[in-house]
Amino acid sequence: MNTESNGPDGSFNSRLQAARIKQGLETPPKPTGKIPGGAGASAWGIGLRLGVEMVSALVVAIAIGYGLDRYFGTRPVLLLVFLPLGIAAGISNVWRQFGREE
């Protein structure tokens, strides 16, 4: 909830909305997927998180591709299909966390 940008009346509305969310009358806004709390926002932390997000999607894609290839005996076709998908998923993971930065 952006209390500051709503003007003088905004603080009441945002507090009202927070109270309504707490009582289950409204659904909370979708979390942005960003990890809140600025304490971990050092360059080292951001780099590690970025790397983990990218590599994890890639690992899953390679595991699925390789496993299916082993099962169907079509090595390396499915691995080659899943590899770009994994790269794309990794980039979309990173975009979801670090993109759209104000």
């Binding site: 289950g24 909370p28 979390p31 809140p36 304490a39 590599v55 994890s56």
Partner: protein
């Protein structure tokens, strides 16, 4: 388990034979049977022991802390109440009203990991969160719970989660697999984040602790380097405390975010 002490204990003879020429950073993560012969026969390792200690400490904090049930809480009761309220607000803020149902899960995960991370900072203690097997088991559990909650709430409608909104139908065959892969990658990213942070911190501690001994035994001007390594290690311990808290918090908050997605879908 900290630094040179563990290296010296585990491979004392070997280190002496090599004349302090190698840094043995990884033997601190080796599992060994704990509790003597009984532990040996059932493969009860020191990691299991630390898990038990961590759970017992959490229970003890709540049990002993809340036993006075005073209107004006004492120190321990205030700590226990603060733990409760922190996780409760985390749940309700992230998930919404339904978050109260998932409070026990998030509370257990957060404090189990937090106490495990903190215990790992003590010398001779073992950090069970520095094993991928442990963190992967926890993140798999979270993933399965999240998926089951989503399917239980939304039925087959759950699969619309993988269809991004406002996308031309031509692109869907490409985007749906990407979304599914992205969803599956949560298992890996959640576990690797915790595991990598804990392991990296403890390897760094061990490396600098080895520098202290190596430079200290070399003598001469290297005493200065030894002193610098010691002070770096002191700073690293403080840094480790920060990482321990932060990673437990990140694990819990990401569990909450995933649960929000499962409950509200989009």
């Amino acid at each position: 388990m900290c630094g040179a002490s563990s290296g010296a204990r585990n491979r004392g003879t070997q280190v002496a034979a090599e004349g302090h020429s190698s840094i043995d950073a990884l033997s601190q993560f080796k599992l060994e049977p704990a509790l003597g012969a009984i532990g040996h026969s059932v493969n009860f390792t020191q990691a299991n022991l630390m898990m038990v200690v961590s759970s017992v400490l959490v229970l003890a904090l709540l049990w002993i802390g809340m036993s006075p049930r005073a209107m004006v809480p004492g120190r321990l009761q205030a700590a226990a109440e603060m733990c409760y309220e922190t996780v409760m607000s985390m749940c309700t803020d992230q998930i919404g009203h339904e978050g109260k149902k998932f409070f026990p899960l998030v509370f257990c995960l957060f404090f189990f990991i937090l106490f495990g991370n903190f215990l790992g900072v003590f010398p001779y203690f073992f950090t069970f969160t520095s094993h991928i097997a442990v963190t992967l088991a926890m993140s798999l559990f979270v993933f399965i719970v999240v998926t089951f909650v989503a399917i239980e709430r939304h039925g087959l409608h759950f699969f619309s989660y993988f269809v991004p909104k406002g996308v031309p139908a031509v692109l869907l065959p490409l985007l749906v697999p990407i979304e599914i892969l992205s969803y599956l990658s949560r298992i890996i990213s959640l576990s690797v984040r915790l595991f990598a942070n804990m392991m990296a911190g403890h390897v760094m501690l061990e490396v600098f602790a080895a520098f202290i001994i190596m430079m200290g035994t070399a003598g001469g001007l290297l005493y200065v380097g030894s002193a610098i390594s010691l002070s770096v290690n002191v700073i690293l311990i403080g840094f480790e405390l920060l990482v321990a808290t932060l990673q437990a918090y990140v694990f819990a908050i990401l569990t909450c975010i995933y649960l929000h997605d499962a409950v509200h879908l989009h």
